[in-house]
Subunit: 466 residues, 2 copies
């Protein structure tokens, strides 16, 4: 609990309408997309400007109150859970798109803008912002930047950091710092903006950003391809790339999720197949037409049992909705679902998938897989129920094995979700100790009182007499 | 001068054949591509492994000897000039391409690999590494990473940092640190690799890297367009983008350089024209064909006086060679040439170019311009002779005005060349003081003895009793 005078001080900063203190109101801010990690905050503030955030941070720094920044709270790493209590600083009321500049191909927006709102505003101008975390209906740009979000489009278009040109960030001591700006390139000093990106709210609160956008591709075509053999399905992707085609998306769906998609959306897919690939090419109409033809040919040669190009934009949209529905089906398949986020080098995908089925044989826990085959980023998902201790223990063991296997194959702990609370117990295995040490030193200079999203990324060490 | 025993110790580390101490040998390592900044080192070492570099750094750290890392020495910011003497650590003998992985679309290479050697090796595999600093015949990957190099291809394909997946870096204390790896995505911890990128050798020595490559575009087409009016030439670029076409390159050449190109290469260009745009589109053959048609149409409508698509790949290569020749012509036009590197938001290009001609009227110093119109990164160049004090002073005043003007328009000090020695006097104007302060703090934790490329990026403050 925060002392009453501190609540009063916070109220003075943000106004009474922008502060929540009741248990009912605050519960919403106690968890995130994991639905596993949760902790109640002492207070929730919803500031409306960087200046207010600066004043909140000065107060929090003086009083050493933990501050957990939060946007839509859609992250699935525990990253926005206020695990140490204190202040949840929710940015959703800073949701203005300040400028869309078509000549400069840039957008300036506040951190609380919902990604889909940006997408819709850009579509009107025939512009396109590629990073597409699948929480786009609710996630905010600030969270996207802090987590360096990715999504299906990354295989061709890269991740969030590649679209960040400028940033306003409030530091732990309340300093408002400006980095970069509206230019397409910038080589002035260290890449401090990149350091803030992906720092998961532990180094600063990103309040405003300048983003690069691109002209919307005039045409796009979605193609579904069904394979009976996992190896053939995976190999189809480099076969396509080898022809000089970079698909905008290449999604992998396993047998279980394929079945759920078919149950829900009736696409006419054979439920006994092992792999569904969902591909999209985009660009000029002529380019898309010939690339689609080529791709269909290559998919055939790669052993596809069924190839289904979308008839039109409407069917294409329906296919992608079905994919989302399939992913959602994983979440409804168990009380608690851990959607892992390991990424392996693309040439290790086949062996990795084979090893996953071996892990299932060893632990008796099913692993469902949906993910980005185009960049080796899979989401092996494990469903369990924490109340069933025996099952839960086997599920945790399964996750442990998945992560070890990915690391053994030269993969990484997280491709796009971040470490947060969920993956911090694996960090030491996944990173050079010198790099972890350096992260801690950087944290210490930016946030000496450890008030910004404390308890995240790395495990805390026991303190003497603590 | 280094004490003889230290030279002996360095010899033991790298072997007698990898150390240079004579004035004749060392002179080569005393300057860079600016041909303005220079300083003799005390010794040049050419290590052949990260382990050797680690041992050199341990020695240098213990003895507090400045270490200036250097690749091809092609940078034009003074960045690789050993301004404090000490050791030049030249990485050109670490020039092995360790792996080209076509399925994974990655390359693993040592820091001393010359960019063009990588390009040629990749071309054999139908792969493409887009970042293309125009020093590609001599610059090395380590320098490219340390400077976060860009080039004409950046408008479509982005800069060097966007292709870095993994890195081995030797820190000031000799620690060998591994960051990232071979995966397309990685969200494990802070973006330390991005911090090293663009740090200009002041935070660590990048020894090895994993780079993303892409399938080579099957087709490309170059188009030249001549305009009598600068505004029309510049406006043609957003007109093209507005049609959903992202050219791979859009280069801007001014009247002076157009004339030199015509003198040297006889392309049949009217020497009285104000702007030459050099555009390239790439992708699938069908896409390139229709995009070229569209682009020619848009260029016409935008007011182009002459439009000249390259007849074939050979003529296209000749056009790009002519561009390089034009840039080289600037360098031969005066004893010392300062090629600035300011970048402005694209929608400010026309007014910026207009202001440049006003600056010339005010100072009487010609400004020649070649640059990347597609991303607002121009290289306004000023030729002078330091022996002519009056002219030199006016030239320096001209540069000052150029930079102030760019900053006033929301532009940045450097788009791709870095700060080094050349631009450090402008840094305070160009960066938030909080950001400069933060850079210094990061430098202090990574290099407390200030031995790594000292004297670069920011100006040193006078020390009490120093």
């Amino acid at each position: 609990m925060l002392a009453a005078n501190l609540i009063t001080e916070l109220k003075k900063i943000v106004g009474g309408q922008n502060i929540l203190t009741s248990k009912e109101d605050m519960t919403t801010y106690s968890y995130d997309g994991t639905a596993f990690w949760s902790h109640m905050p002492d207070v929730v503030v919803l500031p409306t400007s960087a200046e207010e955030i600066s004043r909140i941070m000065k107060l929090a720094n003086r009083e050493q109150i933990p501050v957990t920044p939060r946007g839509g709270g859609t992250n699935i790493s525990g990253g926005s859970v206020p695990i140490k209590g204190g202040i949840v600083l929710c940015t959703t009321r800073m949701n203005r798109i300040l400028e869309i500049n078509k000549t400069n191909l840039t957008v300036t927006a506040e951190c609380g803008v919902v990604l889909q709102d940006l997408n819709l505003a850009l579509a009107k101008e025939k512009l396109f912002f590629p990073p597409d975390p699948q929480s786009f209906f609710a996630c905010t740009l600030g969270g996207n930047a802090a987590e360096n979000a990715g999504g299906p489009y990354c295989v061709k278009y890269g991740v969030f950091k590649q679209y960040l040109l400028g940033m306003e960030v409030v530091l732990a001591d309340g300093t408002i710092m400006k980095l970069g700006g509206l230019t397409a390139k910038n080589r002035t000093g260290y890449e401090l903006m990149m350091l803030m990106t992906g720092s998961e709210g532990t180094l600063g609160i990103i309040t405003k950003m300048n983003l690069k956008v691109i002209p919307a591709p005039p045409a796009a075509q979605t193609v579904l391809a069904i394979f009976d053999d996992i190896g053939q399905g995976i190999q189809a992707v480099p076969n396509i790339m080898d022809a000089g085609i970079i698909p905008a998306k290449v999604e992998f769906v396993d047998n279980f999720i394929l079945g759920r998609i078919e149950d829900l959306f009736k696409l006419g897919l054979p439920k006994d197949a092992q792999v569904l690939l969902m591909l999209q090419v985009d660009g000029s109409p002529a380019g898309v037409a010939t690339e689609t033809e080529q791709m269909v040919e290559i998919l055939k040669k790669s052993g596809a049992r069924l190839i289904k190009p979308a008839k039109d934009a409407q069917e294409s949209a329906f296919f992608w909705k079905a994919r989302s529905g399939g992913f959602a089906a994983i979440y409804s398949s168990a009380r608690t679902v851990f959607a892992e986020d390991v990424t392996v080098p693309r040439d290790k995908l086949v062996v990795f998938l084979k090893r996953l089925s071996e892990i299932t044989k060893e632990t008796g826990i099913d692993i469902n897989i949906i993910g980005h085959a185009g960049d080796g980023n899979l989401h092996p998902s494990v469903g369990t129920d924490p109340r069933d201790k025996e099952h839960f223990a086997r599920a945790m063991d399964t996750i442990d094995r998945i992560i070890n296997m990915a690391l053994e194959l030269g993969g990484v702990l997280s491709g796009e979700h971040g470490v947060g609370l969920d993956k911090q117990r694996f960090l030491k295995r996944a990173m050079d100790p010198a790099a972890v040490e350096l992260m801690k030193k950087i944290k210490a200079i930016l946030d000496p009182n450890n008030i910004l999203n404390p308890g995240k990324i790395w495990e805390e060490e026991a303190k003497d007499g603590g």
